[in-house]
């Protein structure tokens, strides 16, 4: 039915890479996502913002089925992820093998980096290529080296992850995601566990990727970054998609009262810097 609609309606447009349709999820009796829908097309950057506990990360993790959702559908390149139909047409959990196959198109970058500490930086990036994408070890390591160079870590390839700064570790995380040549990269608060002065180097790499046309879905608290890089921003609150739009609209003329209130704190904080002359003394008195 979806294919039919796509064929008739949005004639020329390719089907979205990711389509989230009416996804709901419960943890026990607690509903964490309520019928959330959105789509991500090739080369789009979609940022998901919202207060803590609003379900942003859960929503992101439903896309590659790290989290099971109970209602609705998530399509990856038009294929439903995580579920199949039995002989009677009822929904059943899909085979793990099928989920793994769809996941190969989706890479993920984690808040806590989640690197494998016993492997060198190079192997962290190369192993998925060897173990999953059937590349020969030499070829995989050569590819890994190139990607690590791209994120500015050529000098660290033989180091172990725990000996790197947080910013460097997260860049390894990004390199690991890039190396598998995914159709889309999911970022789960990639800068939230970094020291403020290390956030910049990670955002810089992400901006570069966006410029190159990488498709990205980013859960973030970095409003400046979202405003600058996103094609569309989704505001999530209590598991409900409150608003979605281009950053200009969502940040500067939000339709919803709830969005406005959420953004106020951010706008206020920034007005401290925008409204005042750049005098050190005054800045200090504000802080």
């Amino acid at each position: 039915m979806r294919e039919g609609m796509a064929g008739a309606g949005q004639s020329l447009e390719a089907p979205p890479l990711i389509e989230v349709a009416n996804v709901s999820k419960w943890f026990g009796a607690h509903r964490v996502l309520s019928a959330v829908s959105f789509a991500v097309r090739r080369s789009e950057v979609v940022c998901i913002i919202g207060p803590s506990g609003s379900g942003k990360s859960t929503l992101l993790r439903c896309i590659n089925f790290l989290e099971e959702y109970q209602e609705g559908d998530v399509y990856v390149r038009g294929k439903l992820i995580g579920y199949a139909s039995d002989a009677l047409g009822r929904r059943i959990r899909d085979k793990e093998r099928n989920v793994e196959r769809l996941r190969r198109d989706i890479a993920m970058v984690f808040q806590q980096f989640n690197l494998w500490p016993h492997m060198t930086v190079l192997d962290n990036v190369a192993q998925p290529l060897i173990l999953v994408h059937r590349k020969r070890p030499r070829e995989a390591r050569e590819l890994a080296r190139q990607v690590l160079e791209k994120v500015g870590l050529a000098a660290k390839i033989d180091e172990y992850p725990l000996r790197l700064s947080g910013g460097q570790q997260q860049r390894v995380g990004i390199a690991r995601a890039l190396a598998v040549e995914p159709a889309v990269i999911l970022f789960d608060e990639p800068t939230s566990s970094l020291d403020p002065e290390l956030i910049g180097e990670v955002l810089q790499v992400m901006k570069e990727l966006a410029r190159e046309g990488m498709t990205m879905v980013i859960v973030t608290h970095e409003m400046h970054f979202a405003a600058e890089v996103a094609d569309r921003v989704i505001f999530l609150d209590h598991g409900v998609k409150v608003e979605e739009g281009p950053p200009k609209e969502l940040f500067f003329s939000p339709k919803s009262e709830r969005t406005r209130r959420f953004l106020e704190t951010w706008v206020e904080r920034n007005s401290l810097f925008l409204d005042r002359p750049a005098g050190g003394a005054q800045m200090n008195s504000v802080v």
């Binding site: 996941r103 984690f110 806590q112 494998w116 173990l131 725990l162 690991r176």
Partner: protein, 226 residues
């Protein structure tokens, strides 16, 4: 002086044989304990309830009862159910099965201490369950298990002394026999203690070496000249 010399010439061969047997039964028993314990630990960590329940029962029994009682049961109780084993076999299997229960717990705990995020990352990159165990969990598990394993190997070494009670002719058995014949107690047992201690220190030393060598990735300082 000559009396002591004659002691050595009289009992030397026996003591040497006891020493050989102690080391042999310890090494073989430990090998059995590690291997079986590893399999049991994996079953406890990654198996379904049909697997974990019997394994759990096994671990509880062998941890919950004294090694001595287990040895008596096997050596003296075995024949009544048609299993007659020689002392060496009872000693070896007893030590191995007993140690395996503890090793199972060491490996289970190591398995559980791999951060969930690492496995989630592996899953997100489509590593199969098999690949996750083989390439993410096992290498770290073996490193994490080193300190506790060293400890257990030392305990098993000293527990070989218990095997003397079911007549395994290992070192303690030989020394006991010697004291009963010569009525000298202090010197032989002091020497016996020193022997176990020396071997124990050697194992501890090797364990520390292994811990440093294998756990190199866990220490955040920069690597030296390598």
């Amino acid at each position: 002086m000559s009396a002591e010399l004659s002691l050595i010439t009289t009992y030397g061969p026996q003591l040497l044989e006891g020493f050989r047997l102690t080391v042999l039964i310890w090494l073989l028993g430990s090998a059995l304990a590690v291997t079986l314990g590893f399999v049991l630990g994996l079953a406890l960590s990654a198996g379904g309830p049909a697997l974990t329940l019997p394994v759990r029962a096994y671990v509880e029994f062998f941890r919950g009862t004294p090694l001595l009682a287990q040895l008596f049961l096997a050596y003296y109780g075995g024949p009544s159910i048609g299993i007659t084993l020689d002392a060496f076999t009872v000693g070896l299997c007893g030590l191995g099965l007993y140690g395996a229960a503890y090793f199972a717990e060491i490996f289970r705990a190591g398995f559980a201490s791999i951060p969930a995020g690492q496995l989630e990352a592996a899953r997100s990159f489509s590593l199969s369950r098999r690949a996750r165990i083989r390439y993410i969990i096992l290498p770290q598990l073996l490193v994490l298990a080193v300190p506790a394993s060293t400890n257990l190997l030392i305990i098993l070494l000293k527990d070989t002394a218990i095997l003397s009670i079911v007549t395994v002719p290992e070192l303690t058995f030989q020394v006991t026999g010697m004291t009963l014949e010569t009525f000298t107690f202090v010197e032989p047992f002091a020497a016996l203690a020193a022997f176990y201690w020396a071997l124990t220190e050697l194992v501890a030393f090797l364990g520390r070496r292994a811990e440093l060598r294998l756990g190199v990735y866990l220490r955040p300082e920069m690597r030296g000249a390598e």
